[in-house]
Symmetry: C2
Subunit: 221 residues, 2 copies
């Protein structure tokens, strides 16, 4: 395997790598996999797959296919999930509780160590094995446990203040579910999930183009 | 205003339109807005904004700026949110309940008429003013109320069966939160929100490129 740092791929294409990785997990029985087979498993074109993977190095013998093991190892490393991430969740309301139980998270290397909330009804309780602590303990617990990633599910009005606290405690990556623009320093990574905007994307596609692409690009089918 | 059907824009760029629209809502006081001002409000480059909007028609006088009213009206129509969408939510667990209360939805034209679940503890209850009905009533209520859009928040094992029922009842657009590949007919639009994949995107960016782009592309800042 000759995994290089690679030229990388556009940020929006990263979910494709996640789908390739999932497809490889389903291919435990084989040593070698072709781009055509990966195409069948993920729904992306074989040409797209070859282009994406070529940008990170060479994972097989041309004409024979990719080494499943090498490719899996490389994707783990490229995606940054070859190690556990310690995660804090801030805001243990319905959405926060739902995320704590989300199957997709529990299967991955993202380990939520703590939840934080300022509601006395929630502090001290456990959801899916994760205990809720008061916001006043956020900075200390994050710093002590080397937590670099946070999931933000607080009310709109509280979001920016919590983010400031997260950043000053050492968090560098934030998955933000709050429909608000967060102000963060340059070196902090924010991934916004704005569900209203996802619904608008759906209504755009449904309204405008009855004949054209119907699946989102992170999709297979 | 000369809004044409336009050449449209790539699907992944649609969230930019949503952000432009939100910025225009904040600009009630002005008649005309420049691409530079829109850039300041949204974080996208002025060149990007001009390119996106030009693909849908002409909304102003070159050199003077865009007509806020025309552009707002056009974006509403392009995004398909110039009318109400009747929506059904299937799966009234934590995530479903969280979505029913999600501020971003309530502000928009997406009206959740019914929630469905098969849990006797939930059937008959109301969350955020939306009543939960048994799954056995799904087909009838969807057909009778002209519901075309559904939000799917059921357990993995139930997802495909529910989707089949939604599709055969007339739903054509599905916002899917279940981390599973749905099989749907060609003409059905599915938007997947896979939160584990969003976390992987975050870990990819945090791991690989400390110096490069840190904000996702649907982001401003």
């Amino acid at each position: 395997m000759s995994q290089s740092q690679g030229r990388g791929i556009p940020d929006l294409a990263v979910p494709r790598l996640s789908h390739y990785y999932r497809a490889l997990l389903e291919s435990r029985e084989t040593d070698v996999i072709s781009s055509e087979e990966l195409s069948r498993l993920t729904g992306y074109s074989a040409a797209q797959i070859r282009r994406d993977l070529a940008s990170f190095g060479q994972f097989g013998t041309p004409g024979r296919g990719y080494s499943v093991l090498d490719l899996r190892t490389a994707l783990l490393s490229i995606l940054g999930i070859d190690k556990d991430w310690h995660v804090a969740l801030v805001g243990a309301g319905n959405l926060g509780q739902a995320l704590l139980g989300y199957k997709g998270f529990r299967d991955q290397r993202f380990k939520v160590l703590y939840a934080f909330d300022n509601d006395p009804q929630k502090i001290g309780r456990e959801f899916q094995g994760v205990k809720v602590y008061p916001l006043s303990e956020l900075s200390q617990r994050i710093a002590q446990n080397n937590i670099r990633m946070a999931i933000l599910t607080v009310p709109v009005a509280a979001a920016q203040e919590v983010v400031n606290q997260l950043v000053s405690s050492g968090v560098s990556a934030i998955l933000n579910f709050v429909p608000v623009r967060l102000k963060v320093p340059e070196q902090i990574t924010v991934q916004n999930i704005d569900m209203a905007i996802e619904l608008e994307r759906l209504s755009y596609r449904t309204t405008r183009s009855p004949g054209s692409t119907k699946q989102d690009t992170t999709k297979q089918q």
